[in-house]
Amino acid sequence: MKMHLDEKIWLIISFGMIMGFMFFTGYQTFVLGMGPPSEMETIDPQRVDETAPFDEPGVYQIGENEYEVVMTLEIFSFNPGEIEIPAGSTVHFTMTSKDVTHGVQVAGTNMNAMVMPGHVQRITQTFREPGEYLMLCNEYCGTGHQFMATTITVK
């Protein structure tokens, strides 16, 4: 098949671009540990309240400037509802849903994860700047979906 030189160059550039994207994604995921939230642990979605650690949702300090938030999601609220942490803290969220699929997103940060019934989801976020962060549900979950939100107060 006859191919013009400019076409070959274009195809090589295209191929290189796609491979470049792949390379950077792989590098970030596997070397820098910036992979997307992909927790594999499962849980019985009908017995969340009786299963540790979700039997006691809350904010726990686990180290200097390090917190764990054990959170359950149900229509149309997050539990714990209020989170307060000092600036510069790293927060490890451990979440699961008691009913339908929800999404957790904190506006103004890169924190974004799906929370599905039957699956535990973990995501870590460091809050450097003080302020009020809006945490909301970004997966349609029912009539009150637009009210499913809370704030994270960083002092």
Partner: protein
Amino acid sequence: METARNISFTEKANKVLGISPKDAIISKSYLLVAFAALLIGGVLGLLQGLNRAGLFNLPTWFNYYQVLTAHGLLLVLVLTAFFTIGYFYAVLSHNLGGLLPKVRKMAWIGFGMKIFGFVLAVIPILLNQATVMYTFYPPMAASPIFYIGLVFIVLGVWMCAFGCFTQVANWRKNNKGQHVPILSYFATGVFVLLFFGSIPVAIEVFMIIPWALGWVETINVLVARTLFWAFGHTLVNIWYLTAVSAWYVVVPKLIGGRRFSDMLTRVVIIMLVVLNIPGGFHHQIIDPGIAESVKFLHVFMSLAIGFPSLMTAYAMFSVFEKTARKKGGKGVFSWFNKLPWGDVRFLAPMIAMIAFIPGGAGGIVQSTNQLNQVVHNTMWVVGHFHLTVGTTVVLTFFGISYWLVPFLSKRVLTPAINKLGVIQTIIWTTGMIFMAGAMHWVGLLGSPRRTSYTTYFDNATALSWDPYLFFLAIGGTLLMVGIILQVYAVVYLMFFAPKGETEFPIAEVENHATKTPYWTEKWGRIIVIMLLLIAMAYVIPLVEMIINAPPGSPPFQTW
């Protein structure tokens, strides 16, 4: 060359007399349903846009999420599916010497099944018993009638797919050793994808129905979601492939040129068919229960679709440049002026193509792990598919309608309607720039998709989104104007325009083009390769999801 004499009488008659009335009415019916869906879906879209911006309150008996479910179903499923089938059946009839009587029957049965299924699906939506969005993720459970409706829609689509295969097989038997005409080749690719792509959703629905009826207690949420996206992702690329068919074959003819290498065109189709279904996981990049390595594999599969698209970009601009230079265009860019910008049949698909440059780039962004995390489920995604499906695909469909509808109704495109079309295209483009632009931007700020108007208890961050949402409403209003003009044009061209002959524009290949190898016609092999790739993508995660499944979820009705 013996086979050249085999061209049947009907085929010749078709070339001379245009499409047979029996075939025309099939395509006309499909197109009418498509544009009716556009009109209703558009009105619902406007209501949503206004509500989202906080300018308009929807009544409680017809709430935002109901409107959104109907809007998605009408535009994503009905408009696109009916247009594609109507268009490709016209292609098959024109290319392959008229539809066979049994194929015609299959098209009608398919039509009936889809309409029946659609009515079944809409009733529970109107009754607020299926407010689950067109993605219907379990464990949200709609009324079983909704899912049964979906089954009929899928069966109807399969009927049309088999109609196409029958028609093409028959033509090939009568034209041994020849290549299927290029547009029919596109049709084959599209229907192969429609058939195989809808198998996962059919499995999902068959999983859901007994659960929604209460015969089984729980459902595997993640498996259902994965099956949905194996289908959902393929679906959008089917519409894209349909639009691409017009770019490759029709647009060159309209600008008075030849089409790009036949071989490369077919290779692009094959690649789009083979690589498509395994890409679905980029909708699930931040889901739990799927390992990072599997997600990485799927980033590769998703990005691979970018390759044929970039090939297409090259092909199109190469055709434009060649044609315009032949007409005397000079310099690096001035040949651009030689293109027929005043012809809506060219203008609309051209803008569609241009829109695909940011649209495709946005797609690459979204299918990449870390970037996806920033925009997942925000308004950015909505902006993205209004740019790709709402502009690239739909504007190409509009462009097609200005010659396809008069071709079917044996009427002509009048200069007045052409002018209306140009205005419509400009309005549509402006509306989309406002709307999709605002959606992309506000999405980056964190505004979620699929959420009715809310300030989240007067949260400062949420309040700062309002100005962008206002732009969204302006865009939505312009689009509504565009829809009214478009539907008017279609109705006029179908029933009231002056009688006459309209040509079905199919460009010829270059004179000294290389011969296309025959393996491109061996669909059996192509399908096996496609199945192998699907297996590579889905065996690992599905086995993991099923073997290590958590206890299932019971149905919920949360609206």
